[in-house]
Symmetry: C2
Subunit: 145 residues, 2 copies
């Protein structure tokens, strides 16, 4: 179990090189528009950090952003919308910032951050699951927090 303190920084990383495959290559990148919308949604608040990043590698399912928190899991999201999802990302980051187990809660998570999950990564402190498969009870995939 990962525990978090309020001092752990929560960061939204927005891919600024993302564009829809149908967009002309000489048009402004929609990823930059999403980054700007996310920064606007944060405004002058300082509880979340918004960073622009060149290419999160999720080019098939852009627009893309990641939300991570020190000593907690990292989440990558795709299929985002520049007009809709600036506030979505800030809301997700704030939900995550309040969790006590290092995971972004499924309950209350904005819908685009449920269906748009691309990948999640454990914190650096993660020590791995045991090798013995007998210790697992695998069910059907349900909610992946």
């Amino acid at each position: 179990m990962t525990t978090n303190s309020a001092a752990d920084r929560t960061t939204v990383l927005v891919c600024i090189t993302c564009r829809a495959s149908s967009d002309p290559t000489d048009a402004p990148r929609k990823g930059m528009a999403l980054a700007n919308a996310t920064a606007r949604a944060l405004g002058n608040a300082v509880d979340v950090t918004v960073l622009r990043v060149r290419c999160l590698g999720n080019c098939n399912r852009g627009l893309s952003a990641a939300i991570r928190r020190e000593n907690a899991w990292t989440y990558v999201f795709g299929d985002l919308d520049a007009e809709r999802d600036g506030p979505t990302l800030i809301a997700g980051a704030r939900l995550f910032a309040q969790s006590t187990d290092g995971l972004m809660p499924w309950r209350g998570r904005p819908e685009p951050l449920k269906r748009g999950l691309i990948a999640r990564m454990p914190p650096l402190s993660f020590a791995g699951e045991p090798a013995d498969p007998e210790t697992y009870a695998f069910g059907a995939r349900a909610e992946i927090p």
Copy 2:
């Protein structure tokens, strides 16, 4: 630019809950087979750490694994094969361990770790790109190291 030292740990995280959508739910998970194959490919070497993880969230394009290095980028890969890609992941981790710029080199990277790229994430020390789009010269997407 991120700089790395040989002391930075390189880790392969293999998703043990991954299975192909066509696999019966009561069969052993192929993800566990990939984890075991990766551990076998490492053998007694200690230059890379192999960890098992429950669900990297890339369920649509499993089997999945991530390779990360302290103070460097993190990479998530999908469409992996349990029979083929244990040695692939170890080779990719070792290539990454030798890089000096915090990125996994494209040149020499095993093919499954090129076409299977799902996402990449910058190191925690990443401070973000500037907000001014004038500073970017966007080309067509080519190789994303």
